[in-house]
C-alpha cells in the first residue's frame, strides 16, 4: 500500500508521520504525552472529553488531538498555560458533576480520573459540587454499575458495541440528565444482550463499573487486556 508521509512539528520538535494518523497517535509515538480520558486505543475516537485539546498554529479553536488528523507542516503545541487551565477546568467539572468520594471508592489509587487529577495538579475545585442523586445498579450477578462515579466517557458503550458486538450499553437522556443504560433501560441483571464478558468493566476509567466482591481500593482493572482491543479492531477492519 502506498502511504504518504507528512512532517509536522509538535512542541517545536520536527516529527514524521503517516498520513491519516491523529495528532495523539503521532505524539505518543514520539514520547510526547497528551492527557486523555474518553480515548482508548482500539476504540473509535469520539473527541468527547476535550482533555486532549491542543493548539494548532493558524486555528483559533483548540482541537482534540484524538480526532484531528495530522497534515503537512502542521505546528502543534500540546502544553501551555492556556491548555493547562482548560484541562484542569474540565477535570473540575467531571469531579463536581458526579459524586466522587475517593476515600471509600473501590478504585481509590487505581483510578484514571484520580490519577489525571493528580498529574495535572488539580489540588482544589473552584466550581460548586452538584451532589446529584444517582442510582447504583447491582442486579448483575458479577458486576456493579455505580452511576455516581460515571463520567460518561462511553468507553463501555463503544467496547460493547465495537468489540464484543453485543451493544448492551447506550446513553439516554440529554445534558446533565444523560446516563449510561443497559438494553432499553432495564436492570443490567435482566439484560438479554449482555454476554457477561466484562470488557466494559475493565475499560471503565473510574470505579463506575466494578466486579462484585471488591472493597475499597481493591478494584484493579485488568489493563493487560487492552492491547487485545486494537488487535480485535484491526482484525475487524
Amino acid at each position: 500500500m502506498n502511504v504518504r508521509i507528512v512532517t509536522l512539528s509538535i512542541d517545536g520538535r520536527d516529527v514524521g508521520a503517516r498520513e491519516g494518523q491523529t495528532i495523539l497517535e503521532v505524539a505518543g509515538e514520539n514520547g510526547i504525552e497528551i492527557p486523555t480520558m474518553c480515548n482508548l486505543t482500539g476504540l473509535k475516537p469520539i473527541g468527547a472529553c476535550r482533555l486532549c485539546v491542543v493548539e494548532v498554529a493558524g486555528s483559533r479553536k483548540l482541537l482534540s488531538a484524538c480526532t484531528t488528523g495530522v497534515t503537512e507542516g502542521m505546528q502543534v503545541t500540546t502544553d501551555s498555560e492556556r491548555l493547562r487551565n482548560y484541562r484542569r477546568t474540565i477535570l473540575e467539572f467531571l469531579f463536581t458533576e458526579g459524586n466522587h468520594t475517593c476515600a471509600v471508592c473501590v478504585s481509590n489509587g487505581k483510578c484514571e480520573l484520580q490519577e489525571l487529577a493528580r498529574k495535572l495538579g488539580m489540588n482544589h475545585v473552584d466550581v460548586p459540587y452538584r451532589y446529584p442523586r444517582r442510582d447504583v445498579d447491582a442486579t448483575h450477578p458479577r458486576f456493579v454499575l455505580d452511576h455516581n462515579r460515571c463520567i460518561l466517557c462511553t468507553r463501555c458503550v463503544r467496547v460493547c458495541d465495537e468489540i464484543e458486538g453485543a451493544h448492551t450499553w447506550d446513553v439516554m437522556g440529554r445534558g446533565i440528565d444523560s446516563k449510561v443504560i443497559t438494553d432499553l433501560h432495564q436492570p443490567w441483571g435482566s439484560s438479554t444482550s449482555c454476554t457477561s464478558c466484562g470488557k466494559c468493566v475493565h475499560v471503565c476509567p473510574t470505579g463506575a463499573l466494578f466486579e462484585k466482591g471488591h472493597s475499597v481500593a481493591e478494584m484493579a482493572k485488568r489493563r493487560q487486556f487492552l492491547p487485545y482491543l486494537s488487535t480485535m479492531r484491526g482484525a475487524k477492519e
Binding site: 475516537p45 469520539i46 473527541g47 483559533r60 488528523g69 446513553v171 439516554m172 440529554r174
Partner: protein
Amino acid sequence: MMRDVLLKTAEAERAVKDEKKHSIRICTAASCLSCGAEKVRKAIAEKVKAAGREDTAVAGVGCMGLCAKGPLVTVDGPETMYAEVTEEDAADIAASLDNGPVERIRCDTTTPFFQRQEKIVLENCDRINPERIEDYIAADGYLALTTAVLERQPFDIVDEIVRSGLRGRGGGGYPTGLKWSTVAKAPGPMKYVICNADEGDPGAFMDRSILECDPHRVLEGMAVAAYAVGASEGYIYIRAEYPLAVKRLKLAIRQAEKMGLLGKNIAGTDFSFSIDIRLGAGAFVCGEETALIASIEGQRGQPMPRPPYPAESGLWDSPTLINNVETFANIAPIIRKGADWYAAIGTETSKGTKVFALAGRINNTGLIEVPMGITLREIVYDIGGGIPDGKAFKAVQTGGPSGGCVPASLAETPIIRSTTNLCRSSDRSWGPAA
C-alpha cells in the same frame, strides 16, 4: 408529467385568476393565524359573497412580512395593505372594492420596510396559497426542475450553482456549488439529499416562514439538487414544534407526487427522487449536520467528529448533501434566471439576498429579505423602524447561539457572510463584517 402539462396547468391557473377583477389576500402564516387571520379570512369571504361579488377572489396566502401588525390583508396587490385587521373590518374591506381604500386601517407601504427589501426567496410569499400546487406552478413553479431534468446535464446544474456564488444559509456559509460538486463526485450507489429545517436559533423564524408560505419552492430546490448530485432519496428534518410547516410540507409532497414532479420518473424521465419528513424533538444540537444525520438514523442526536464530512460519508454511510431551507429556496430562481442574474445581486464576496427574522425590542418585528451588503443601521432603523419608545439602540444579536452580539458603534458595517470578524465567535454566521 411532461412539461406541456405543467405549462397548461400554469396557463389555466392564470386564466382563472384573470377572470377575477379583484383579489383579496389574507396572510395565513403562523404569526397572523395566531392573532385571528383565519376568522378574518372567513369574515371577508362571507362579506364578499354576500355582496355577490363573483369577480373577487379571496385567498389565504403566506407571510407579508410585517408580523408585528398582523393580521395583514392586501387588496389587489401589495400596495393596498391593511394591518391589525379584525372581523369587524371585513364589511369595510369588501365595500372598499367600490369605495376605495379603507384609510382607517391602511398600512403605509411606502416606508423603507417595504421599499428597501429585495425578494427572491420570499417572492411568492404574499401572493400564493401555500396549500395549492397550482398557485406555485402559475408563479413559474417547477419550471426549473423540469428544465433541468429534460434539457440539462447534472454537471451543468452544479456549474450554474457554482457560478451564482450562492453560499449556504445554515450558518456555516459554505459555498453551495462546491458542496454539490463534492457530493456529485463522491462514488456510491446510493446518495441522499437532506434539508436542514431544524432552525434551533431562538427567535429565528426564517426557515419556518419559508416552509409555511412556499413549501413547493423548497421541494423543487431539493429535487434539482438531487438531480445534480445523483441522489434518489431525500429527507426534510424539521422540528415538531413547527406543526403548520409540517402539515403544509406533507400536503405539498403529496401534491407534487400526484403531478409526477416528485417520486418515480420525474417529468417522464428516468430520474426518480422521493422526499420523506423526519421530525426533530427540538434539541438545538440536532441542527448540526452530523447530529442531525444520527437523529435520522434513529441514533442519539449527537455530533460526530468530521472528517469524514457528510458529502463523503453521511446518512447510512452514503454520500449526503445537506443544505439549509433557505439555501434550497434560492435554487429554483437561480436555475430559472441564471447564475449571472443572481451573482449581480449583493456584494463581491456575498451574493444574493438574506432573509432575516427581526425579533425583540424593535418596532417592526417580522420577516424581511434584504440584499447582502446592507448595513446594520439600515436594518434596525430604516426597515426595523428603530427601537420602541424612542429608547437607545445598544446592540443586536445575530446568528443565534453560535453567533455574536454587535454593538451599536458598529452599526455602519455591511451585512455579509463575515470572514474577518468583529465578534470572536460569530465568524461562522451571517452578520456584519468589517
